[in-house]
């Protein structure tokens, strides 16, 4: 299939409606790393993600959040149910002719079970706390692994010949902010870091621009964390060979085709 025909499928693919042979052929094309289709899919994905914004609000149950937060603590210790099932049913002592005996046995067994269940409940709470700590540590480990993987990628990228580093300085909108872009026209790739950017207001996002031939090219949107750090991997388009400047602006959520908002970072070659 010709590229023109394939690129017409980007929007249908972003909607998740492509199927059959077309889907297989299109995905095979994407695996070639076509930057034009990649860009179109990114843009259409943002459009598609906006669709549910049109929906009217459905009132949630008052305890929806509480139920969820309670479930967080129950993530691991499914043994709770097993412990209770392990408590054996009581024998009624039905062979005895003394009428009080079965009742006394039942009361005694009931008390014993209550004490036992209380202890089991206490053990379960302890287990739940331990499990949650373990889950948190596993999450920290995953995060550290990902950061390590990112670091490794950066290290390998920097080591490649032809990688250039361009610093970006904060404008008067964010004088304390700074950024750096590592880019390689040969690799058709760039890694961008920002620090000390103000947190983007709700409904806004930061967007990176590559300015080539005095025209801004959208290089993608990125969030910043509470420390103002942002990171973005950018597949460079052919025009990036002529890059003159890099800039970051604050734009409506989802990004825009052309810059409209205030500039927060700027760097020149």
């Amino acid at each position: 299939m010709r590229h023109e025909k394939l690129s017409e499928l980007c929007s249908i693919y972003a909607l998740g409606a492509l199927d059959g042979e077309e889907l297989r052929e299109f995905e095979a094309h994407l695996e070639t790393g076509c930057p034009l289709c990649g860009q179109q899919i990114q843009e259409y994905s943002q459009t598609v993600a906006a669709i549910p914004e049109a929906l009217a609000n459905v009132r949630p149950s008052a305890d929806l959040k509480d139920r969820l937060m309670a479930r967080l603590g129950q993530e691991g210790p499914r043994g709770v149910v097993d412990f209770k099932l392990a408590a054996k049913p009581m024998s009624s002592g039905s062979g005895s002719k003394r009428s009080w005996f079965p009742w006394a046995c039942a009361v005694a067994a009931g008390l014993a079970l209550t004490v036992s269940l209380t202890r089991v409940s206490s053990l379960n709470r302890g287990l739940a706390e331990q499990q949650e700590k373990l889950n948190q540590q596993l999450q920290q480990l995953k995060t550290l692994q990902r950061l390590l993987s990112d670091e490794k990628e950066v290290t390998q990228f920097i080591a490649k010949p032809g990688v250039r580093v361009t610093p970006l300085a904060g404008t008067d909108k964010s004088p304390q902010a700074a950024g750096q872009i590592l880019w390689s026209a040969q690799e058709k790739k760039a890694l961008f870091y920002a620090s000390k950017l103000p947190l983007a207001p709700e409904g806004k996002t930061y967007q990176l621009w590559i300015i080539a031939d005095n025209k801004p090219i959208d290089a993608g949107i990125f969030p910043v964390d509470t420390q103002g750090n942002g990171f973005l991997k950018v597949p460079l388009l052919a025009q990036a060979d002529k890059a003159q400047k890099f800039a970051v602006t604050l734009e409506p959520a989802g990004g825009v085709p052309q810059p409209t908002g205030a500039m927060h970072l700027l760097g020149s070659l």
């Binding site: 409606a17 993600a49 929906l55 609000n57 459905v58 969820l68 964390d225 409506p252």
Partner: protein, 179 residues
Amino acid sequence: MRKVALGDRSAFGQLFDRYSQLALNLAARVLNERQEAEDVVQEVFLQVWRDASSYRQERGNVSTWIVAIARSRAIDKLRSRKARRVLDPVGDNEEMQDVAEKLPDPAGRPDNLDNQLLVRKAFGSLAVDQRVAIEMAYYEGMSQSEIAEALREPLGTIKTRIRSGLLKLKQSLSSGAGN
């Protein structure tokens, strides 16, 4: 998200406050049943809690990520119960009107109403057949071929409707957001 990835419950609570309404609206639209939609929201945020460390900001913002999970989960549930319902245009579903109530803007989403109006206006600018095709794909999880079969239209017609509808939607949202 980094705090959530490190197991910070307070940050997770804030994330829930910010995005749960959007996820609930979406799940309720797909499933047309509030209790099931709330179940989906719980599953979505449990997944967010578990997978926060695998979230990659360069692949899209948090909202897009959560919406994608919510859509996928809701459609899975819809498919599992094999109940397909006839689509109504956005906001015209009588059954959903019973459970849909206009609320004060949820905490953390002060611009929600602006977004709603912007996207509704953009959707309203589409031809009805374009909107129906897009909604069948988005909310019902139907492929282009399934939509063509359901509507008894040629596949090429459906593809054109989706393509032209999404192009117009993209342009309307871009110009609307820039205002």
